[in-house]
Symmetry: C2
Subunit: 352 residues, 2 copies
């Protein structure tokens, strides 16, 4: 879970980033020192690309937006509720209202909470539940990769605006602070949200489902972790209405909490690795290796590539791909690109 | 996430470059070795560094090995079984053997399957279960980040050996093939393993727990997804012995399946992004931005950094960190590093 989880949301996080062209004026201020890619510092690993109006359209094709995910979820729940409502007489257990129970059963299944207060009681229903739990898991994964990042970014946009309107605080300093501690900040946000959800759940179960405090807390824990023993669950109509919203939100929130924790962990390790690579002694043999254009000396850019390669941030394949492009562009084969190279190399392409 | 599979081996391959005569023998060994070193692949594009004997020891400190994870799991299950055994009279439900039931309850809880065939029946036990489910989730996450990669790497080591001993096949070609399709290959392996686990589970439940075929399959699905309604579960002594091994393996296997699926997806996206960035027209303004040393032309290395930054593979922060180091090393402030710079810059450090 550790690393993959970490990265997926980052990748997906791009679209709703507050760093979109619309807010370009903010970006400029924010990353004055960055020469090319304003969006870069926000997501350390791989998703920092220079956002332009073109890139936005390309990215929206590459990464599903939060809105798209919500639409998929609505369709999923619609179909699920309809299916389980159709076979409602083949589901046994404590029932309240037909449609509500179907939706509740659908949510309890897709989040893998599986209390067992409602269970399929025919071959069809059992196989249907199997189909819905697998697709539900995939969908929850998709939501996980979008939801909390979306909230965090919304929050950040507000923050950027607040800072922007309050010029007494050093904007750049503040943003830098937020950026370097971004993961920590995301973890803090999601933890706060999680605690609030747990409190709401406990109070609700205590008040509405008439459980005692320990049982309420126990049911909350059993639910958000998707454990769902089922000895305590939502059995009233009001409880199930609350449950359909609360279960989905809280299970996803806990998932996100673990993802951010893993991300923080990975970040610490990455920093240790970077620190270590930077303290390595450079030997003559390293110089030779770093010397890409073989002119006998290592330029700053060559040194950067060499060290980033050592840190594992870029690979020989990445370099080879870009080198091909460079050679295509270097029309006069001088080993450097100048404006005249671009004119020569790119002019035939204008027709495209 | 996207390209790490691709990157790892390529970097290792890089060490075979003739530019690195001194460490050649070590690196060669490492090239094969790194596939068996589980510590490396778990944290994808972050850990592939030009490896030397020193780095290996540093890495083992940074990343927990598979063996360490197994030890942690054993300790967790030991403590869990002991605790639940101590409070076994405060757990209600279908019982077989005291210690076995405690272990089974511990596994069902930590994997969040939570059938509910055994449920806590006192405040203490309920709170204990809460504690164990949270820590169990974290532990399962840790295992997820290590286990399947470990298996895949073991398999790959065997494959590399097989290829190596059979010189009629082009080793490099074959390795390249495996490496570019690494994620696909991992997904295939984990899917095969998952199908085998599901078959074993279904056959076992059919034969030993006397469920019919649909119910067996339903119970298998309900378990591996951690849904665990609990209407069908392992109720016999033999069943629970099987369950403690099978539940842990299969839930982790399904988790890994989803992770690899996400990884494959991210890889496709990353490739599309790289392709798109490479086809972007270079304008004069891009040249200016790419020109790190401001000498009016863009060298190959500068071009590479510019494009990789656009692809989001490296960030301004990464560059700034390495630049600092470069400036420290550039003793004569010529803007390039030569052997004499190294002697000047690094000699005072010798005493450290």
């Amino acid at each position: 879970m550790a690393d993959h989880g970490v990265k997926q949301p980052l990748l997906a996080g791009l679209n709703d980033s507050p760093l979109q062209p619309k807010t370009k004026s903010i970006d400029r201020r924010r990353f004055r020192h960055c020469r090319s890619a304003p969006a870069m510092n926000a997501f350390p690993e791989k998703t920092h690309i220079a956002l332009s109006p073109i890139s936005e359209s390309v990215l929206s094709k590459l990464y599903p937006t939060f809105r798209k995910v919500v639409v998929i979820l609505a369709i999923y729940l619609g179909i699920g509720t309809f299916c389980f409502f159709t076979v409602r007489h083949q589901i046994k257990g404590k029932k309240t209202n037909g449609i509500l129970d179907s939706l509740y059963f659908c949510i309890v299944t897709m989040t893998t909470v599986g209390y067992g207060d409602l269970v399929p009681d025919s071959f069809t229903t059992k196989l249907l539940a199997c189909a819905f739990v697998f697709s539900g898991m995939a969908l929850v994964g998709l939501i996980l990769s979008r939801a909390a990042d979306y909230l965090v970014e919304k929050q950040e946009t507000l923050m950027v605006k607040a800072i922007h309107s309050n010029h007494t605080i050093g904007t750049t300093e503040m943003m830098k602070e937020i950026e370097t501690n971004r993961v920590r900040y995301k973890l803090l946000m999601v933890t706060t949200f999680l605690v609030l959800l747990m409190l709401t759940g406990t109070v609700f179960l205590y008040k509405v489902e008439n459980l005692n405090l320990v049982d309420s807390f126990y049911c909350v824990c059993s639910t958000i972790t998707t454990l769902g023993y089922g000895d305590k669950s939502f059995s009233t109509k009001g409880g199930r209405i609350f449950a359909v919203f609360w279960i989905l939100t809280s299970t996803i929130c806990l998932g996100q909490f673990f993802l951010y924790l893993a991300e923080l962990n990975a970040e610490h390790r990455q920093r240790a690795l970077v620190k270590w690579v930077l303290t390595l002694r450079m030997e003559k043999v390293d110089l030779e290796e770093a010397d890409l254009d073989e002119d006998g000396v290592v330029s700053a850019a060559e040194f950067i590539i060499y060290k980033l390669k050592e840190m594992g941030k870029i690979s020989q394949e990445d370099i080879a791909l870009v080198m091909e492009e460079f050679e295509d562009l270097d029309a006069d084969q001088s080993g450097t690109l100048s404006a005249s190279d671009l004119v020569l190399a790119q002019s035939p392409r204008k027709g495209c």
